[in-house]
Structures are given as C-alpha cells and as structure tokens.
C-alpha cells in the first residue's frame, strides 16, 4: 500500500502510457459526419498533429521513444523519415504534415476541403427539381425584393447618375402650379430622354417650414411612438404638411424590424417568418440581422429548406465579408452539418489563395474536439485528416485559441508531448495563463517535475490554478523518499505561500519535510495548521505520528478514534517507530486532469486548498 517504488513505477507507466491516436480520434471509424468513407489505409501508428519547429520538452530524457504519438517537426525528421513510416500506400495526411513544406500542406488541405459538400445545393429540399412557388422557397422572389440586392445595383446607380444631371426645375414648377397637363408632358419628355429616370416622389410636398430634423433625431433614438405623436401634432398645426416619404418608409420598416425582434425574442417563429414574407424591404443585404432572425426562425419551425435558401441567398448576393462569415457561423449553429457544408462550399477564393470560409468550416471539428477534451466521448469522432486541416490553419493563422484547443485535446488523449507542443505554441503566439498551465501540467505528466516547478514558480501568482499546481509540485518533491535539501529561504517562501492560500496539502507536505529534517516543532505546528484548513490523511497521520513520538498516547487514541475509519494510514501509528510514509501527490493525476479541463472551459472548481489526495483507492 505504501510501497513507494511501486507507486512511482505506476506513475511512470502512466507517463509513458501510449494511447494510439487512431483510437482516440476515431481514425478507424468508417463514416465521418460528412459522410465520407475513410480508407482503412491509415498508418498503423498514427501520429499526433503537431506544430512544427517546437522544441521538445525533455531533450535529455529518452522519453520520446516511449511516447509514440509525439512528433514535433524536428523529431519527425530525425525519427520518422516520411518514406519509412508512410510506405507506398497513399496517405498524404497524417504523419506527413510536420515534414511537408507549409505551402504544399495548405494547398493539399484546401483541395481536400469540399469532400462531400456541394456548393449551394439545398440538402433539405424535398426534391432536386427547381423549388417553386407557394410561399416560395427560392428566396429572392419570396423574400427579396426585385429592386434590392447586388444584381440590381447597376441600374440603380445609373438612375442615380441621371437624377444628378437631370434638370427638374420645370417639373417642380408645374407641380407647384398644379399644372397637371404640362407636368405630364414634362415627365413624358424627361422619360423619353432618360429611360431610367423616375419622377421625384416629393413633387407635391407642399413648401413648409416644418423641419423634420427633430423627427429624425427621435427616429435615431428608436422612439418610434414619439415620432408618430410628433407627426400627428405637426399635422394638427400644418394640415398641408406630411412627413417625407423617406421618413415614413424608414419608420415603417423600423417598426416592423422591432416587431420582428420582439417576436423572435418571444420565440414566435411563425410571426417572424410572416413579417419577413410581408416585408420584402427587410430581406436585403443592408438588413442582415432581419435576415438572420428570419432564417433562424425558419429553421426553428423545421423549414430547413427555406432557411438554407435564405443563407444561400446572402452568400450569393451580399458582399460584406464580416456579415458573410457571420452568416455561415450562424448557419453552423442552426443547420445540420450537410447544409452547413454546402454553404461553406460557396465561399469565395480570397486573394491570398485561401477559401473564404476555410476557418469557420472547421467549427464543427473544434466543437467536437472541445467536447472530447472535456471527456465527452459522445461528441463524435475526429479524423486525422480533419486534425491535419485545423493544424495547418492554426499555424498559418497563428491561432492561439486553436493551438490551445489542440493542447487540451491531446492532453485529454494523454499525448502529453503533443499537448505540450501545442500549449507552448499557443503561449508563444499569445501569452496566456491557461496555455502556461497546460505546459506545466504536461511537463509534470512527462516527469519533468523540475522544469514544471521552475515554470510554475515563475508564474505562481498568475492564477489560483497555477498556484495550486505549484504547491502540488513542491509538495510532491517534499514528500519524496529522499527529498532534495531545500534552502531555508525557499522553505520560508513556501510556508508563506501555503499558509496564505490555506493549502492543507502544501502545509502538511511541508510538515513532513520538516519532520524529515528533524524539525519536530515546526512540523507539529504545520500539521495542526494543515488539519485546521482541512483534515487530510497526510496532516492527520502527521499529528498522530508526532503525538506517538511524544508518547502522548491519549492524543494518538483520540486521533485514531476520530479519523481511524477514514484514514487507513493511522493503522500504522501504533508504536513509537510507526513507519508512515506519506504518499506522493502524484496519484492525483486522474483527478486533476478533469479539473484542468473543466477549468479550461471556464468553470474551474475552486479547490485551491488542495486536499491531500493520497487517500484514493
């Protein structure tokens, strides 16, 4: 039970435990969510996807040989000659990545992307025949106005040009004179000259000294009711006045837009759709939010076909890059993956040769990796190909978040080395305590405790999590069979730290260390402190051992009575020579791991006191 060597060997085995990535990533699975059948040609020993050119952690240790999934670029060249590992059978993705020149890799990934996706094809339509009428599924006729959208912008522009140069003086004069005959003749004349020209809408607006400015300001504030009231008041005073067509139209649209937003908030999906159908003026690129609300409402009512068409319409018609991207992102949350993939495939080629939606197309993968990293195997499978694509992108775009995601993903797969590389890459791109924490945890799991401790100490006050890890690391070393002799200055610092953070674990570990240094008085004080923070086996046994040494048998009995059931270690404290060996902290790994991952996703369980966990099993 307390055999230290066996414990240590178990830990070592844990470090070196090799989980084949193919197993973890589901490489052996036949189908992927995209419906692609993967050839069973994946190399027998699949390799973690890694950022290149990252220094390996333990250059000295012979660990790499054991940790098969770990192949940083430098190692990859040294240890896994491409040709050797990937024989004639074509499997361009996978282990090759790290060695392939970056540019080639990107191109390969780009080509590989639209596997099953058919750009713009509506996977939810009942048939492949052209969709037609009722509340027409084809967007532009049902929702879009014919006068809106990019395709119409040219005539609109030329009409605008005409308007700028056309002399409407006579026209306006006839209108004010109500000389309808001459007005009609002038319109006929101008239309013959400028076929795209339309008579201005405000021809008959009476000259008035009513200023619309306050109305527009009210409108700008969203006080639509106020605009109505003010218009009514102004009309009461000026019977001939009416608000400009522009204001009336914008007010009308704004009110419907507001109503749509409210209906959406009330989850009245059908109402949202009705409003969109009856207000084509809202279904334009300039009113992207209304389009998004409508598309989501359609999807919520299971009308995926029309939702898809609406998204597709945006991608066909609208040009704003951010909005196009957001459209695809929204679709990814709403549409089943097949539809999403077909939208992604509509992405344009960017000047730099990449595809417009390359990044967002990997969102489903990211979310699966995230779920898997959180220990949810139901999240689905990820394939090496997919990982490869994301890895290339993450490096190309220097994405710290993707790199960190890789880190936690591989961490969950116990590919410590790969995880370390990714964390380290992420931290290089953007200094981040989480990545730092990942690095420290990986180093610890790779048995590079000294390096881990150095890094943790350097950043000990950065986050409570790092503090906790640091205390664990030091406590681990202190409770080693032959702990390294520590400088009294370091001891003082550590004591201050554990007391300040009320760490039961750290405090009792320090106690055991002092005890091993024959400093019984301080050890006793620290055991008491530790138990006062939280009773743990280490702290309680420490108290018992000291009491036994002092032959305070009644105290020993009292402790045994109180904690005997909980801590089997107390059973050994019978006689003065009781040989209690405090267990190492290390077995906590199994417990620590989900903690760290939970933490990654934001709800780290506040457990800073660090109970001494050598009680398990």
């Amino acid at each position: 039970m307390f055999d230290r060597l066996s414990l240590k060997s178990v830990l070592l085995a844990g470090c070196c435990l090799v989980v084949p990535i193919s197993y973890a990533t589901g490489d052996n699975a036949v189908t992927s969510p995209l419906g692609t059948i993967l050839p069973a040609t994946a190399p027998a020993q699949t390799v973690a996807v890694m950022p290149p050119n990252m220094a390996s952690v333990g250059t000295a240790a012979g660990l790499q040989q054991g940790a098969a999934p770990v192949t940083p670029a430098s190692l990859g060249q040294a240890q896994i000659p491409t040709a050797a590992v990937v024989p004639a059978v074509a499997s361009p993705q996978g282990p090759v990545t790290a060695v392939v020149p970056a540019s080639f890799a990107v191109a390969a990934a780009t080509v590989a992307q639209p596997v099953a996706a058919k750009a713009g094809e509506n996977p939810f339509a009942a048939s492949t025949a052209p969709l037609q009428a009722p509340a027409a599924i084809t967007h532009p006729t049902s929702f879009g106005s014919t006068s809106s959208g990019a395709s119409q912008s040219a005539p609109a522009a030329s009409a605008l040009e005409d308007t700028l140069t056309i002399d409407e003086t006579a026209l306006r004069y006839y209108a004010t004179q109500r000389d309808l005959k001459r007005l009609g003749a002038e319109i006929r004349r101008l239309k013959a000259l400028y076929p795209n020209w339309d008579a201005p809408e405000n021809l008959f607006d009476p000259p008035t000294n009513v200023s619309e400015q306050p109305l527009w300001e009210m409108f700008g504030r969203g006080d639509y009711a106020g605009v109505h009231n003010e218009v009514a008041r102004l009309q009461g005073d000026n019977p001939n006045w009416k608000p400009s067509a522009d204001l009336q139209m914008k007010l009308g649209l704004a009110e419907i837009r507001t109503l749509m937003q409210r209906s959406f908030a009330q989850r009245n999906w059908s109402q949202v759709v009705e409003l969109a159908e009856s207000t084509p003026a809202l279904m334009v690129c300039q009113d992207m939010n209304s389009i998004w609300l409508t598309a989501e409402s359609l999807a919520r009512t299971q009308d995926l076909a029309r939702a898809f068409e609406l998204y597709k319409w945006v991608l066909t018609t609208c040009t704003n890059g951010d909005e196009r991207l957001a459209t695809v992102q929204k679709a990814s949350l709403i549409l089943p993956e097949a539809g999403f993939a077909n939208l992604v495939a509509m992405g344009r080629s960017l000047p730099d040769g990449s595809l417009e939606f390359e990044n967002v197309s990997l969102d489903p993968l990211r979310s699966r990796m995230g779920s898997l990293a959180q220990g949810n195997p139901a999240a689905g499978v990820v394939t090496t190909d997919q990982l490869q694509r994301l890895a290339i992108l993450a490096q190309k775009t220097n994405s710290a978040s993707d790199a960190a995601l890789f880190g936690w993903y591989y961490y969950s797969q116990k590919s410590w080395e790969a995880a370390y590389q990714w964390f380290s890459f992420a931290h290089q791109v953007a200094a981040d305590p989480k990545s730092l924490e990942g690095m420290i945890l990986c180093m610890r799991n790779l048995d590079h405790e000294v390096e881990a401790t150095v890094l943790a100490k350097k950043n000990v006050e950065l986050t409570p999590e790092i503090t906790k890890i640091y205390i664990e690391l030091v406590a681990d070393q202190m409770t080693d069979e032959k702990p390294a002799v520590m400088r009294s200055e370091d001891l003082k610092q550590f004591e201050q730290l554990v007391l300040e953070h009320e760490s039961a674990l750290g405090t009792q570990a320090l106690g055991w260390y002092l005890l091993s240094q024959k400093n019984t008085a301080d050890a006793s004080r620290l055991f008491d402190k530790s138990v006062s923070f939280e009773p743990t086996e280490g702290g309680v046994v420490g108290q018992a051992v000291l009491a036994a040494r002092a032959k305070r048998w009644s105290t020993v009995s009292a402790i045994k009575k109180k904690y005997g059931d909980r801590y089997s270690g107390l059973a050994d404290v019978n006689v003065y020579q009781a040989k209690y060996v405090p267990k190492k902290v290390r077995p906590v790994r199994k417990k620590t791991q989900p903690d760290m991952l939970t933490k990654l996703f934001g709800n780290y369980e506040k457990d800073g006191r660090g109970s001494n966990r050598h009680v398990e099993n």
């Binding site: 007005l183 339309d198 008579a199």
Partner: protein
C-alpha cells in the same frame, strides 16, 4: 339653335371615328401622346402622392386608411397608363405580398393595418381581381414583361372558373366566390353591374381565348339594358336574378349610387357602340343638374337621397358626355384636385378613359 346641335352631332361622329383609331393604338400598349394623356399622367402623380404609401399600398382614406384589391387594381392600371413602372412594381409587390394570400391565385379583398391579421376575410372581390389582371396584362404589353401576362391570364382563368355562373340571363360575373350565389342570398344569384369592368373583360378575352370575357360582356350589356328600375329607369347597385326578370336585390338598398356610377365609366371606356345605354345616365344627371350635382337615387321613388358633390363623380358624367360626342366643361374635368379616395379614383380613371378613347374631347377643338 337646332342647327349647331346637328352640326355638333355630326362632328361628334367624326370624333368618334378618330377616337376609335386612337383606341386601336392604345390597346397595343403604346404611349398616347396627347394633352389628355399628359393630363392623365400628371393627375396620376398627384393621385399617387395623396393615396399611395411608399410601399405601394393604395389607401382608402375615407374608410380608415384600409386598402382593397380594387384600389390596388385601379392604382396599377393608372400607373401603366402613366408609364410609371416604378410605382406599378411597388403596388404589384405589395399586392402580391399582402392580398394574394389565397391558394387559388385571386386576392383577398380587404386589408386593414389596424387589424391583426391584416386580412380578416379572405373572400375575393371579382372586380378587384379583374382590375389587377387587366393592369398586369396591359403592363406586360407596355413593358414587354411576359411574366405579368402569365399571372394576368391565370387570374382571369380562375375568375372564370370560380366567380362566374350560368343564369337564365346568360353568363354572369359573381361579385365574389362566396356569399352571392343562389342559396347564399334570398334572391341569389345576386350580381353587381359595376363589377363588369367591360374594357378589362374585352382585353382579357382578346389575350386568352379560354377567358369567356365576351359572353360576360354580352350578359352585362343586356342587364344594363334590362335591369332598370323605378321611375328613373336606372340600374340598382345590387341585382337579384332569381326571378324571371332582374330585380333590385333584397338584401341591399334599392338604389343607384356609389357602386353603379362605375357602370357608365366602364361602358364609355369600353366602347362607343352603346350611346343608348349611356344616354340613360346622362339624362339622369342632366335632370339632377338642378340640384347642383349627382346624387344617390332611391329607385322605387326616384328620390335623390344623398348628394354626390365631389368633382370626381362629375368627371364620370363628363366622360359620358365625351363618349356621346357632346362638349364638356374642359376646365372642370381637367382640374383634378384630390379629395377622397373613391371620387378621386373615378376622376383619374375618367381622365384616363378620355385620354385613351376621346382625347380630342379635352382639346376643345371639336
């Protein structure tokens, strides 16, 4: 005194002939270039300014700013004649989105912004459907857009299928699909002659052999001739056809009023071949000239019950005079100044009918 009159009649015949030539031109959708046409186009602009919302809805200001299929049809028709495609498309878009919510391709007749849903009653109004179909047909001819005529002919076909009936008096146009058939009215079928948009029936029949427009025109004309009641010998707004001869419909006031005034409007627009029928109306209006204007006539006693003083109604009377080849008060009919929706509509329509059929009537150069 008699001589000039005879001379006038002679000239009127000449005018009629030339008018027919103009008509032939108008019907292929060409722009009419005449002061009368310019006036009609100018009047449309003013009408649009007053009654069309920015999104293409024609509002009936007198009925609480509601809209109906008929108003959309009138507006679209006017826009075609005024060569205003922008307004036409706006109105058509609004109509399609808000009124064409029936499954058969016809329109719900009434739309109210204050109601929710805006359309409470999805029944149609056959004249509204006819007007929109006609406007679409003319728009397709004028602007060479075949998709418009496709919809127009589909609508006509549906009207023929769902809103016509065979009666002892011939094929009739039912006012709506529901509510007027035998069994739905005590003296049903009940018809409304002002729903017979004669020129629309004729032009839709020209465009589609399947549409029984001419049979409907025939019945309509014979009903205008025969369904006249009381001392004034005027048609009733609503007519019951259950008996062996037409009678004022039991469920409605037996009167010649706001509805029936459109009969001479459409008739004069349609053809110059029926001066006898038009004379009936002209006579009545001359008679009531003493009371300074048109009025709703209670038929059993031929009493004027409510004045119709609006210049828009006078414009219809002037159109009839034009059709009959008689001089009109040009200044009066030309002076379009919007009042309420309905009479203003009749005014612009009269100007358009004059421009199309009797353009010289407004030049004063008989």
């Amino acid at each position: 005194m008699t001589f000039p009159k005879t001379k006038g009649a002679l000239l009127a015949v000449l005018a009629l002939l030339s008018g027919e030539a103009e008509t032939a031109k108008a019907q292929v959708g060409a722009d009419i270039e005449s002061p009368a046409a310019d006036l009609a186009a100018g009047a449309w602009l003013l009408y649009q300014h007053k009654f069309m919302t920015p999104d293409g809805r024609i509002i009936d200001n007198k009925a609480g700013d509601i809209s109906h299929s008929e108003g959309q049809g009138y507006g679209m028709l006017m826009a075609v004649l005024a060569n205003d495609k922008r307004a036409f498309d706006l109105m058509w878009k609004w109509t399609r989105a808000n009124l064409m919510i029936r499954e058969d391709g016809l329109m719900a007749w009434r739309w109210d912004a204050r109601e929710n849903p805006h359309v409470k009653d999805t029944n149609n109004a056959s004249d509204g459907d006819l007007l929109v179909a006609w406007a679409l047909l003319r728009a397709s001819q004028k602007w060479k857009q075949s998709d418009y005529s496709k919809v127009a002919l589909q609508m006509a076909q549906t009207i023929s299928k769902l809103a016509t009936a065979e009666t002892a008096f011939g094929k009739v146009l039912m006012p709506a699909i529901y509510g007027f058939k035998a069994g739905e009215q005590p003296d049903g079928p009940v018809v409304n002659l002002s729903y017979w948009v004669f020129p629309a029936l004729e032009e839709l029949a020209q465009a589609s052999r399947a549409f029984p427009g001419r049979a409907l025109v025939k019945t309509g004309l014979s009903l205008v001739r025969d369904a006249r009641f009381g001392p004034a010998q005027l048609p009733a707004d609503w007519i019951g056809l259950s008996a062996s001869s037409p009678k004022p419909a039991q469920g409605f006031m037996p009167q010649f009023g706001y509805e029936s005034i459109r009969i001479p409007l459409y008739l004069a627009w349609y053809s110059t071949d029926h001066p006898d029928l038009l004379e009936t109306f002209s006579r009545q209006w001359k008679r009531s000239a003493g009371t300074k204007g048109l009025a709703v006539i209670e038929l059993t006693t031929a009493t004027a019950t409510a004045a119709m003083p609006d210049p828009g109604y006078r414009a219809v009377a002037n159109l009839v005079e034009c059709s009959l080849g008689r001089p009109v008060n040009i200044e009066e009919v030309s002076n379009f100044s919007p009042t309420d929706y309905y009479p203003s509509t009749l005014h612009v329509l009269s100007l358009m009918a004059i421009a199309e059929r009797y353009p010289t009537c407004l030049t004063g150069s008989l």
